[in-house]
């Protein structure tokens, strides 16, 4: 009997050139160099620490108190909150009566005129009577409104004619739907109608009172059976909006006013007309309180000031210090610089020590080596960035709330800002790795990446350049990626300074990150090409 004897043999090791092995090799290099791990930890600590500093914003400001509307012990300014949770302005002149059940109200509007303060007058004259001139704010508005009550910030739906933006249906401060375009005149009047059916309010407009078009429809959850219904006029505060030459938009501001003329006021459905009464809604610190009305025959002339609109965040927001969660992530810049150093060294250190020759001998497919390095440094940076950003936002908010107003954002926005910050840091780390592979010199590579991403931001946000030039820097340079951190919402129906300095980026969040990712991809492709062609 012969038996087949299998000779003892150690199992053949699996291939050493697989991508998984490469990843493992690169990960081992990364985690065993103490300085790099320390660098990543420093990046996290700097990001969180500076975020908390920005959140604190200076507790001493509470004691000195140089802004208006700080309430007692809490230093955060109190702003009126709308049904959506965001801060709103809610002040206007209201000619109203309580009406129960379902019904509809119709009116014809024949004129909208106004007066603007003369802000070119010497700012030192503030406090004296500011001279007025004829004119209208672009978003001066008048029309019909159905409102939950007369308390500030309550729910509403309104059909209105605006000075420069035609007929609009607006509801609950943030909703804004366009209707008939064009300006209003006695020969070209506008007819407006609001219909209530349960919680649903529908708005219509018409040029002749017979042919009606539905503009929009909205649901006001929890609208009481008896709502306040009537005519309103509002005209926002006029402010000199200075371009941020050298930063700082010190605006001169004063109330404007508008006057609307209505006739053919009619009620239908279960609504029957009682007596109209006029009063000013909203007596907050920022309400100008100008308003009056008189009724002659079927004609109502209503003068008002103020605004029914959301308050956008930024330096022009009223009520003392206010921030968005973007400000809590200001430490990202410090974290980025630390990670740029680590990511650059991740490749340049191999050149300095000659380790690159061992690496490439062990794994001759050079592109895959760089790919593995990019995956490792990108993932490590993403995790570090995620931890840092989440901690900065969560802890920073709780600190900031005690000292300044934090603009509320939806959880989806918050998630996008935090995850986006992590992605931003990861992409910059890959960019630094690629530039390091191209240049092979640490100092030159680190400087190139930091200057490419941080300097355009400084020039756009905190320098002498006007907002327009700053916008272009934030579209075309790697600094575009910071758009992913934008938490502020720009409202077209509110005239304000929507500039980078105030936290408004010219590109949409993910588009901005895509520009940065484009730079990183190009650099990585060039690095792979050069690594393949040049001697190591």
């Amino acid at each position: 009997m012969t038996a087949t004897v299998t000779p003892a043999r150690t199992p053949r090791p699996a291939g050493r050139d697989g991508f998984a092995q490469l990843l493992r090799a690169e990960w081992t290099k990364f985690r065993t160099v103490r300085g790099w791990v320390i660098g990543a930890v420093v990046a996290v600590l700097l990001t969180v620490g500076l975020g908390l500093f920005a959140g604190a914003g200076g507790s001493s400001s509470c004691a000195s108190g140089n802004g208006p509307a700080r309430s007692g012990a809490a230093c955060a300014p109190s702003l009126t909150t709308g049904p959506g949770g965001g801060p709103v302005t809610d002040s206007f002149y209201f000619v109203r009566q309580p009406l129960a059940g379902n019904g509809s109200i119709t009116v014809r509007m024949t004129s909208l005129t106004g007066e603007l303060p003369d802000l070119t007058a010497n700012p030192a004259n503030q406090g004296l009577q500011i001279p007025m001139r004829a004119g209208l704010m672009s978003w001066a508005k008048a029309g019909l409104i159905i409102k939950d009550g007369t308390s500030e910030g309550s729910a509403y739906a309104a059909m209105m004619v605006t000075a420069d933006h035609g007929v609009r249906m607006q509801a609950d401060y943030t909703q804004d739907t366009p209707g008939l375009p064009g300006a209003l005149s006695a020969s070209d009047p506008r007819w407006l109608r609001l219909t209530r059916s349960g919680d649903t309010i529908t708005g219509y407009d018409s040029a002749d009172g017979t042919h009606w078009t539905q503009v929009g429809s909205t649901r006001l959850a929890g609208l009481p059976t008896t709502a306040q219904v009537g005519l309103f006029t509002a005209s926002p505060i006029d402010a000199v909006i200075t371009e941020t030459f050298g930063g700082g938009n010190n605006g001169n501001e004063a109330p404007s006013q508008a006057t609307a003329v209505f006739d053919h006021l009619g009620l239908a459905g279960s609504w029957t007309a009682g007596a109209w009464s006029g009063d000013y809604v909203g007596g907050g610190n920022y309400a100008p309180g100008i308003g009056s009305y008189h009724q002659a025959g079927g004609q109502f002339t209503v003068t008002g000031s103020g605004d029914i609109a959301p308050i956008p965040s930024g330096p022009s927001a009223p009520g003392g210090p206010s921030i968005t969660i973007t400000n809590l992530l200001i430490g990202t810049f410090a974290g980025l610089i630390a990670l740029i150093v680590v990511a650059t060294l991740f490749i340049t250190a191999e050149y300095r020590r000659g380790l690159i020759r061992v690496t490439l001998a062990a794994s001759p497919r050079r592109g895959r080596v760089l790919g593995a390095k990019a995956v490792v440094i990108g993932s490590a940076s993403f995790v570090a960035g995620l931890v840092a950003a989440a901690a900065a936002v969560i802890v920073g908010k709780s600190i900031a709330r005690r000292r300044q107003y934090v603009f509320p954002v939806s959880w989806a926005t918050e998630l996008r800002v935090v995850v986006g910050t992590a992605a931003l840091i990861a992409v910059v780390a890959v960019l630094a790795l690629a530039v390091g592979a191209m240049m092979r010199r640490s100092a030159a590579a680190v400087t190139t990446v930091i200057v490419a991403i941080v300097l355009p931001y400084i020039l756009a946000v905190a320098s002498i350049l006007p907002a327009g030039a700053g916008d272009w820097l934030l579209r075309l340079t790697p600094a575009a990626g910071f758009a992913v951190q934008q938490a502020a919402t720009a409202y077209p129906q509110v005239q304000a300074l929507y500039t980078p300095n105030g936290g408004y980026y010219p590109l949409a969040p993910w588009a901005g990150l895509a520009v940065l990712a484009g730079f990183a991809a190009l650099a990585l492709a060039a690095a792979v090409l050069l690594l393949g062609r040049r001697d190591a």
């Binding site: 050298g246 630390a338 300044q404 400087t447 400084i458 030039a469």
Partner: protein, 261 residues
């Protein structure tokens, strides 16, 4: 071995490698280019008030140029550490402070020379570009000229600013010894102050940050209009940067003396 020998040795080291010459050329051309681009991006449409500081605007490129000066200074010392040359240097010249002083003197002189070219080029670009963008003499904007004392202070101060940045960078990199870490620390020190100050809502903290930041305080030297609203006066601001540079050089000198090379 005295100072002149040390200076000569350092000059030979700098002169015989390609890097420094390229960096100096880049410093001049890119500073002027960034200044010219910034100037070209600003225009003053007729019938509007333009509160623009022409001097500051025309010298914008210094904010970029300082990064190149920092690289030059960092490489002057970390290059020796990465190649081990530092041991030869210190064997030949055992008085370590003399070595550092020679490096500092040489770097400051180079930064002054290249910075002067860069600043003059930037002002010239501003002089040529600004009138075409609405900043004309008949609207109250004087043609930029170094004969004007304030303009000369802004331009000359910018040159001094660059020299001080070179010293600050040399001091930090002598302490740190690694080029990537050193340049990271220097650029963070320069660029983070204006960024963080921008989001601090408290007026006093905002001002304090701008007063102590080496870049925010130092660049006050470029301001020529609305001086009363500056967080720090021009020369005091440059003094703050000088204090930073002196502190960094002192700490660098101590580390060089006390630590093994």
């Amino acid at each position: 071995m005295n100072m002149s020998h040390a200076l000569r040795a350092e000059w030979t080291k700098l002169r015989t490698v390609a890097g420094p010459a390229w960096l100096l050329a880049a410093l001049v051309t890119l500073t002027v280019a960034v200044s010219a681009l910034a100037t070209a991006a600003v225009s003053c449409p007729s019938a509007t008030a333009c509160p623009v500081d022409e001097a500051k605007l025309s010298l914008t490129g210094v904010q970029f140029g300082q990064a190149i000066v920092a690289v030059l200074a960092v490489l002057a010392i970390t290059g020796e550490y990465s190649t081990g040359m530092i041991r030869v240097t210190l064997t030949a010249m055992p008085r370590r402070t003399t070595v550092l002083a020679a490096k500092a003197g040489l770097l400051a002189a180079l930064a002054l020379a290249a910075g002067a070219l860069a600043a003059a080029g930037s002002v010239l670009a501003g002089r040529l570009i600004l009138p075409g963008h609405g900043f004309t003499p008949d609207r109250g904007f004087a043609l930029l000229s170094l004969a004007n004392a304030t303009m000369l202070r802004a331009a000359g101060g910018s040159v001094l600013y660059l020299a001080l940045i070179a010293l600050l960078s040399l001091g930090i990199s002598t302490m740190v010894r690694d080029s990537a870490v050193a340049i990271g620390i220097i650029l963070a020190l320069l660029y983070l102050f204006p960024i963080v100050a921008n989001v601090v809502t408290n007026e006093q903290w905002h001002r304090h940050l701008e007063q102590i930041g080496p870049m925010t305080a130092g660049l006050a030297i470029q301001a020529t209009t609305d001086l009363s609203s500056l967080p720090i006066s021009p020369w005091a601001g440059l003094g703050v940067l000088a204090a930073w540079a002196a502190g960094a050089m002192l700490a660098g000198g101590l580390v060089l003396r006390l630590r093994d090379a």
